[in-house]
């Protein structure tokens, strides 16, 4: 049913890549191996070839199911920022205790610690270096 609704509406969906390029990846309910590769790249996840087919089926099922919200036509519904009505919660700008450097380094892999600092992957390196 969801697929029919989509077909009728002829929706076209695009996904934004990390390099700010746009690539069309098919209809709302279609997930293929290329989509999985793309989502994995965006999510910084490594997906093995043998996992891919299962993920295509499972994500297709999930995305078809969640797509049923398009059945609801209420288009102008005010959305509140928080579910319990709190808005613009700020704290006073006062100094307070935080983790000491030693505690902050407690769980860092030793290979990443240099001069009491954390070595992080370079921002402009290839994503595979992450």
């Amino acid at each position: 049913m969801v697929a029919d609704v989509l077909k009728k509406e002829n929706w076209s969906f695009r996904i934004k890549t990390s390099a700010c390029l746009y690539a069309t990846i098919g209809s709302m309910s279609t997930v293929d191996a290329e989509t999985i590769d793309h989502l994995a790249k965006l999510s910084r996840l490594t997906i093995q070839t043998e996992e891919k087919n299962t993920l295509v089926t499972q994500l297709s099922d999930i995305i078809t199911y969640i797509g049923r919200l398009s059945e609801l036509r209420d288009s102008i519904i005010p959305v509140h920022e928080t579910i319990n009505g709190l808005q613009d919660v700020t704290r006073s700008d006062e100094p307070r205790d935080s983790l000491s450097p030693d505690l902050a380094l407690q769980n860092v892999p030793t290979s990443r610690i240099r001069d009491h600092k954390i070595v992080v992957p370079g921002v402009f390196n290839s994503p595979t270096d992450l």
Partner: protein, 454 residues
């Protein structure tokens, strides 16, 4: 044994805290097949018990000297906290979650960290990287998730109280499957600070107990504003919730959620819910049928918004500051991260994420409308009893749909309590009472009545 009874025994010096803690570790060993715990803290617990036995006074905290367990999503200073995932297999938090601090201030003694679906992603407990938790009522069945170990530990009588998190039913569902009392408080009633985040606009910090009174007593400890969590309420005072336990329910208006009694529910569970409604009517409640018109869209809405928040929350795990790298994520976390990445992506955002935020609003309004006519709502906690291990693992969507009666409350941010309502084919069944935001006292008032009937 209930927390209330143990407290009395400790007060009268009929038993020492060391004895209680020692017995707890014996029970953990006896019940090792349940796989309810990931990490045990025997040395620390015995030290804390000895401290209590030497220094306790009449004014000791509400949980003083009592052994409890924590879901392994609760950060514990110097005690490993894995969130059920190998990503955090060696992670030792440098601080306590705010709730853990509160429980310690009240004198509770932490005996261990309980098993859970990794990152709290799951309805059965089978997504744990440390193996599934078994149901104490039938070892071939699931305990329910994601707070599986906590529910099993309380149901098996190992501890009188264990904590849980409820993002889409993760306290109430296992409570129902294991036959214990499970509370999901109002979003913002209990601080989320230091709890491994799943869906930050949904996560509600609750607990399991054997009685409704104990549940009320624990909430009186855990609830309240926290400087570290801006979404915790600073304006709603925290009462002594136990004062509502046993209070007359005469004249209370109870809305029976008819949407949950249509197709899909085990007919024997439906009978339990209707019997509960009838008993409440006999006790003087005014029972009326209510409908939540948009609730049929709750699951779809939930499985857009929560994976979106999951993909964002789990983005922090990169193996740089703590934990292993992203290659250590297991299947369910990968599925949710990728689903969330999909729905938040450019071109999809409006159709999925934005639409779901609107539908969430409609569902919240449904609850608000229902609460104009009723004081509390009543319904089943789960459409089925605990299912068999492995029954739904190959079909993630079928697993997701186990949460059908519990996740709407998380979308609306309202509190709910699952209370045991007997058994079907020797397996526990829970019924659920739901109240308006910050009206947990009504849950304990009605819940204690239901408890008495069964």
């Amino acid at each position: 044994m209930s927390l209330q009874t143990l407290r009395k025994q400790l007060h009268l010096k009929e038993v020492s805290s060391r004895e209680l803690v020692t017995q707890t570790f014996e029970k953990i060993k006896e019940n090792h097949e349940l796989n309810a715990f990931i990490t045990l803290c025997e040395k620390e617990a015995l030290e804390a018990a000895d401290h209590f036995d030497k220094n306790s006074t009449a004014s000791s905290g509400a949980l003083a000297g009592i052994p409890i367990a924590l879901k392994d999503a609760f950060s514990t200073k110097d005690i490993r906290t894995t969130a059920g995932s190998l990503v955090l297999d060696e992670y030792i938090p440098p601080y306590d979650a705010s709730v853990v601090k509160r429980l310690k201030w009240a004198g509770a003694i932490i005996v261990g960290k309980t098993n859970m679906d990794a990152w709290a992603h799951g309805s059965s407990g089978e997504n744990s990287d440390y193996g599934p938790t078994k149901n104490p009522h039938d070892l071939a069945r699931i305990a329910g998730g994601s707070s599986s170990g906590s529910a099993a530990a309380v149901a098996a009588g190992i501890v009188p109280m264990a904590t849980g998190t409820d993002t889409g039913g993760s306290v109430r569902l296992p409570a129902s499957f294991c036959g214990v009392v499970g509370l999901k408080p109002t979003y913002g009633r209990v601080s989320r600070y230091g709890i491994v985040a799943m869906g930050s606009s949904f996560d509600s910090i609750g607990h399991f107990t054997t009685t409704v009174h104990d549940s009320a007593a624990v909430l009186s400890v855990t609830a309240g504003h926290d400087f570290h969590d801006a979404t915790s309420s600073s304006s709603v005072p925290v009462p002594d919730y136990t004062e509502w336990v046993g209070k007359s329910v005469k004249g209370l208006r109870v809305g029976l959620i008819t949407d949950f009694l249509k197709e899909g529910i085990d007919p024997q569970i439906k009978v339990k819910v209707l019997q509960t409604a009838k008993e409440l009517e006999k006790a003087g409640c005014i029972v009326e049928e209510v409908s939540l018109p948009h609730v049929e869209y709750a699951m779809a809405c939930y499985y857009i918004l929560v994976p979106a928040e999951v993909s964002s929350n789990l983005a922090r795990y990169d193996g740089v500051r703590f934990g292993a790298g992203r290659e250590a994520f297991a299947d369910e976390a990968k599925r949710r991260i990728m689903t969330g990445t999909f729905t938040l992506s450019s071109g999809y955002y409006d159709a999925y994420y934005h639409k779901a935020t609107q539908v969430r609003q409609l569902i919240k309004q449904d609850f608000e409308n229902a609460f104009e006519a009723c004081d509390v709502l009543l319904g089943p906690t789960s459409p089925t009893t605990a299912f068999k291990l492995g029954e739904k693992t190959a079909d993630p969507l079928a697993m997701y749909l186990s949460d059908v009666y519990v996740c709407p409350m998380n979308l609306a941010g309202v509190p709910a309590l699952s209370i045991p309502a007997g058994t079907v084919d020797s397996l526990p069944v829970g019924v659920q009472v739901v109240a308006p935001q910050y009206r947990e006292e009504l849950l304990f008032q009605v819940g204690s009545k239901i408890e008495k009937m069964t």
